[in-house]
Subunit: 460 residues, 2 copies
């Protein structure tokens, strides 16, 4: 398609939508390290994971070989309600920047969860329903995952119990209210409803909570209540599998217009969006069929890729979850209270961690005032008010486009616009009022987190 014919938005037709998820692990030579039992230091078996996760999801979690998993029809039907998401050419942003670069974004915010999280929420809820379960438990931080799961559970008639990081629960009453509208029960974490919550409250009275802590609570409730399982919105291999729908659609849309991106950029918290967006492109790179630059963008206040350690660590604060080998700041790490958005998990997807470790991907950390500056610029030119998380990718995309302006290169940039910022207006207000500050942890701050890395039998 000739350059000036490329539309503002490329939508796939329903019959062009992907019908299978792509499992990037199948093409990795160095596979991600297995989850370990923290007691024995041995890889976890499907039997050991079954009390926590649904059976089919355990299968997906442990399968490093199968390249494609067919998407069940009921999930495909649900996807059709809000997918395909558009691949958008950012003509207006390009013009405002005066760059020769061509900027595209895959916009995942056009659904009520406000983000890409719904892609995995419906999958996980579906398998729970299919297994005859009564309900699921989960944690949520910024609230996008909890909202997505509530929507999926309402659709399927499943019970949904969400532990919401206390500081978010208090700062975002509207997020809570959306989840309630979809019939979920929402509890601020740490709570007195669980053993681990009571323990954390006793040790850290007045704590505002963390994702790792909410995970511990949700896992405890799932494992103690028959008919319930735990579901997680990021980090896990199964989540990246489901989120591959983002990259598969993006690639199909690019193929449709005959364009190949040079640089692919995504924000990185636990890795769900980044892993999904890059999946099929990274597959090509791993198979030697094409080359791309991949850039993970994380907050300078929670820099797991750029300043973390590649080590086995707990996924939760209460240390009741399996151990995952990943870039981590230590399961006790909590971002500074002035950190406004999501992307606050202490660890990172084991798949992405392995790829980064093996040099297939770059990473950079950015400070939040510069992120909100990019967000505002984007909002005013492209119309969409972006989520703070997504704005990390916007910031890097703008930086790359401005670099092209200097060099005159006409690079094609793709970034993931994971969601909208309608529930982040407290942070925008701080930025608008000039009251937003940055925080970069000192090496001493990080050492405290690293000191909590587990000593596991058989591991250094």
């Amino acid at each position: 398609m000739s350059e000036n014919k490329i539309p503002y938005k490329v939508y796939l037709n329903e019959n062009e939508m992907p019908t299978a998820w792509y499992n990037l692990r199948a093409d990795m030579v160095s596979k991600p390290a297995p989850l370990l039992n923290p007691g024995t230091g041995l890889p976890l078996s499907a039997e050991e994971l079954a009390p926590i996760f649904c059976e089919e999801l355990v299968r997906q979690e442990l399968d490093d070989e199968t390249a494609f998993f067919p998407i069940p029809q009921e999930i495909l039907d649900f996807y059709k309600m809000y997918r395909p998401s558009p691949l958008v050419r950012a003509y207006c942003l390009e013009k405002a920047l005066g760059t020769p670069a061509k900027i595209y974004y895959k916009f995942e915010g056009n659904n009520t969860s406000g983000s890409h999280k719904l892609n995995s929420a419906i999958a996980q809820a579906y398998y729970a329903k299919n297994q005859g379960l009564k309900g699921v438990t989960t944690e949520t931080g910024a609230g996008q995952w909890g909202t997505a799961l509530s929507m999926a559970c309402a659709y399927l008639g499943l019970d949904c119990k969400v532990f919401m990081v206390k500081v978010s629960y208090e700062q975002k009453p509207f997020r809570r209210e959306v989840m309630r509208t979809y019939g979920a029960s929402v509890t601020p974490s740490p709570s007195t409803e669980t053993e681990v919550g009571r323990k954390i409250l006793a040790e850290h009275p007045g704590t505002t909570g963390s994702l790792g802590c909410a995970i511990s609570e949700a896992v405890e409730v799932a494992t103690k209540n028959p008919g319930y399982r735990y579901v997680l919105g990021s980090v896990l291999n199964q989540v990246l599998l489901h989120q591959s729908i983002i990259g598969l659609e993006a690639k199909a849309a690019f193929d449709k217009i005959g364009v190949k991106p040079d640089i692919i950029i995504g924000c990185a918290g636990g890795g769900s969006n980044l892993g999904g967006l890059i999946a099929p492109f990274m597959g090509e790179k791993l198979r030697g069929e094409a080359d791309y630059r991949f850039i993970a963008v994380e907050p300078a206040s929670c820099p797991s890729f750029t300043r973390g350690k590649f080590a086995y660590d707990f996924c939760d604060t209460g240390m009741i979850c399996p151990l995952a080998k990943m870039y981590t700041l230590g399961s006790g790490f909590i971002p500074s209270p002035n950190h406004a958005g999501g992307l606050r998990f202490h660890g990172m997807s084991p798949v992405l961690s392995q790829l980064y470790h093996d040099g297939f991907m770059e990473a950079r950390a950015v400070e939040q005032t510069s992120v909100f500056e990019a967000a505002e610029r984007f909002a005013r030119t492209e119309g969409i008010l972006p989520a703070p998380e997504s704005s990390h990718a916007i910031k890097a995309a703008i930086d790359e486009a401005l670099r092209c302006k200097e060099t005159g290169e006409e690079k094609t940039i793709l970034f993931g616009l994971t969601g909208t910022g309608y529930f982040d207006l407290v942070a925008y207000q701080k930025y608008n009022d000039g009251e937003m500050s940055d925080y970069i942890p000192t090496d001493e701050d990080l050492e405290k987190g690293f000191a909590g890395l587990p000593q596991v039998p058989g591991l250094e």
Copy 2:
């Protein structure tokens, strides 16, 4: 297209998007009554309107004959950022209702203003910019219009001053913050910044404001400051003209799949969405080419169609605006404070008023608890959290679909899903907590409003 091939969402391609707005008045035999000068009782001339509105918009306002107005390229380009909006087949809602009816909705909420308001905001801002103006002033109630105008002005580099009904300003700080992020200045109304605001405050200390009052303030600021004009998000003929893009796209999408709706339903406040949605269909009906049932749905607490008078009235509380002949509750009418959503204007589009008066359209009033019940049902099945305003149309669409279930008729229903409810969570919370109440004004309440209808020279 065979029934089972109809996709969940029909998107037009860019080259199928309408390139001209449709002026329904051209096909009306009984034209809407002209705007009058309240001092003389004579129809307002273009010269008299020029100090208030941009020149091109005055031309559009007064032209009852031209059927199509070409959309300027810059507006078409802006439309491409968030349009076409999808025509969605509500398969999941149909299934949940067990109805043989086929339900479609035209979803206008996939943009940051959260509603269809952006369609006219960009047009009005464009003509202001084109005329070399510095900026525009406006009012906003629920906040969708103010947000839309802020976005359009940010895109074009125009100054934007918004008077926001005080009760909304206080209840919806996040709406205000979105507008600020787009660079608008937002003032709670009534304010001390205008003569009319000071007068209203003196007469009604402690008033929480009204749309009519905010209009008076915005008009005063526009007429007193060189380089500024006033813009309005509903009621006016020009707004219905711009909003015809909704109906034109919907009709093109239906034509694409070979479907013809039987019933077309829209919520009605000032009439911007309803007038835009029905425009091309009503044109066919007026020309005798096809028949459709049109249903306007309004709040029982602000029932201008169903209980108002068809009379000349002021569009604003301060009585500084032209007189319009419309269904009205009187310019002093203010909905009960327990009324949660928008649709709170005392009058109604003169175009729609004339059509309703002439029997081309039905109207019904619904109570807000039943509206939120429909909203929740819709959210849980179709995923989207709807705006309270839009949910009036949902309520009527569900009622019609359930009637089909009784009769076995396979009617095709189209309703306008004007926007999303992300900024209406206070109202949802009230509903979720069982604390929402209904209010139907008594005849005595309404008589007070009617008593304020103007005595105009030459009019009865």
